[in-house]
Symmetry: C2
Subunit: 360 residues, 2 copies
């Protein structure tokens, strides 16, 4: 079989070592006679898996002691509703949004069911090609929180700075597609969330990191299973958590620690992204339309100058084992997602093909 | 290693063949070079897995063409909120409940956020030891729907009949812990839901079977990711579904078909349950407190007459490879869950131990 490199935006490539361990332990986890899938979530075996995953994630991101880490269900899209349900405090209160692409756009629509929405800044007129400079943001006087999507998976736009917010308005960040790809100062945020299926593990697990003082403010319409206070009080086991997904996430966390943690991953991610952008920028055969200072290290959309060659490009890529490069249907073109688990050899293979296809 | 039998109430035992296939395919599904966990949910590989799972479940339960099958996240507990959000139509409208134990109790509490709740019948005064006879139910004149939990996992109470409802009031059933254990006439219900982690697959997948005419009535506060109409319109892919869990569920559906389908499973489940109840009823050393006609075939709680022997009983069971027999903390005692994937040899091993421990 051809060596495969999987550039899917998510669910996405996982470290081979993690999959090998999962396969080896599938029928009998550590001599328990059970698969992790078969364990009661309240039994000592699964609790040890859960607590190790929580502790490793806390260590990897240096999560301060006054933040809870929750493992929930529903993905980033459901958090777009669950976060305002939990944080607006009073129905209809204002939430500030920075609109930088598809995902922050979805967040705005969803929050409008529970809050009054203020778009403090938007790069929509520039086709989401940059993060608006913070000086231009028109934040409200007394917003419940400010919502950002710090890496737009579809548009390939990433924050290269941590915004500052006046007073004690909490900053809420959807980090689904770049969490654990670089160090982050968690203390600058009130809440961080991420669907697991990019840089953490399988689809179906959602990580929420929330500061203690933001718990306990849920609107009465919040389902118990999505009330952050209830979830926190029950160590993410008020309802049955997605146990197998948490186990895989835990294996990924252990793998990340072996790689040297998020600082080491950031170095590699910079190297990988520079290699790919350099090939895309070499001439005008390919085009990435995002401003240099807002380019994502994780999701790199690009277009062929001559789009009639799209199908031929994708067919040739597939023949070389370079999979899932088709861009999101809403923006077209191509997209290479190069998460933590994508080795530099995969990026090099893509770069070689880009050069070959361009006739360089 | 001792041969293990896992009596967990959920997450619970899975068929060994399913786990073996999952382990074998972990790194490379059908020559794709990818793990199922790494596949885009919109790619042809995962879509084929999804559609086969949907079709097999439809075949196993003879789901009529005018019902949608949805694969969602959140578990049964979140459906306790999601169902009223989607079905009450107008906030505050009445929903009828039959209170037969812990899970229908949780449903009542959760629905009260969105609906006016009428407890049409309850066996609480009898310590949830039976399903109230339908003649005694005091249904409302114009309820949005009638909610039942047709198998109470904690209390060990199962319906042995399909209720009839006057007019066109939809019957909603939480079948989490006995779905696929027996044939069911889906056409008698407006909606059936179940968390996967008992008889379907790993925790994190929730199956909803809903009649077409009940779609499109969601309250404005319903998160898009939990709006049945939105989920149905997008083939359960409005947001990223729990792909790996759906894959495992699909393998379980294939396994069930090979076993002869749900009618064949029912025969075996009757045989297993009779074997176990007979041992519990042999004398008064053990006690199951559920009325004969309401006893569950799936979840069998029991008490030792002399509860000071509980720890010794559990330690002896564990030494014999009989795992997770401790009862739910809310009711104490013991509980043996004997889902589809529990072979009769496991029940026989438990019966042998019951007799041995009782000194018979």
């Amino acid at each position: 079989m051809t060596k495969i490199y999987n550039f899917s935006a998510g669910p996405a490539v996982l470290p081979k070592e993690v999959l090998q361990q999962a396969a080896a332990e599938m029928l009998d986890w550590h001599g328990s006679g059970m698969s992790v899938m078969e364990m009661s979530h309240r039994g000592p075996e699964f609790l040890s898996i859960y607590r190790a995953a929580e502790a490793d994630l806390r260590e990897l991101l240096s999560v301060p002691a006054n933040y809870k880490i929750l493992f929930m269900q529903g993905g980033g899209l459901s958090q777009n509703a669950v976060v305002p349900m939990n944080l607006v405090g009073t129905a209809g209160r204002t939430v500030d949004f920075v609109h930088t692409g598809s995902w922050s756009g979805k967040s705005i629509k969803e929050a409008a069911r529970y809050a009054s929405v203020n778009v403090a800044a938007s790069s929509q007129a520039e086709h989401f090609s940059r993060v608006p400079a913070q000086e231009s943001w028109k934040l409200s006087q007394d917003a419940a929180y400010v919502h950002l999507c710090t890496n737009e998976t579809i548009d390939g736009v990433e924050y290269n700075f941590t915004p500052t917010v006046q007073g004690d308005v909490p900053l809420v960040a959807d980090m689904s597609s770049h969490i654990l790809s670089r160090p982050v100062d968690v203390s600058k945020y009130g809440l961080i969330f991420g669907g697991a299926q990019k840089n953490i593990g399988p689809a179906g697990v959602t990580v929420v990191i929330v500061r203690d003082d933001l718990l306990g403010k849920a609107l009465p319409i919040t389902p118990s299973a999505f009330n952050f206070q209830t979830v926190a009080d029950n160590e993410s086991m008020f309802n049955t958590p997605p146990t197998y997904g948490i186990y895989i996430a835990g294996l990924v966390f252990q793998w990340l620690k072996k790689q040297g943690g998020v600082a080491a991953m950031e170095k590699r991610n910079i190297e990988k992204a520079e290699l790919l952008y350099k090939a895309l920028d070499a001439d005008d055969f390919y085009q990435n339309r995002v401003a240099q200072d807002s380019r994502s290290r994780m999701n790199i959309p690009f277009y062929l100058r001559d789009e009639s060659k799209n199908e031929a490009f994708l067919a040739g890529a597939k023949a070389r084992g370079l999979l899932q490069l088709k861009g999101h249907k809403s923006v077209g073109g191509m997209r290479a997602s190069i998460y933590n688990a994508m080795p530099i050899e995969g990026v090099q293979a893509l770069v070689d093909y880009l050069n070959e296809f361009a006739g360089r």
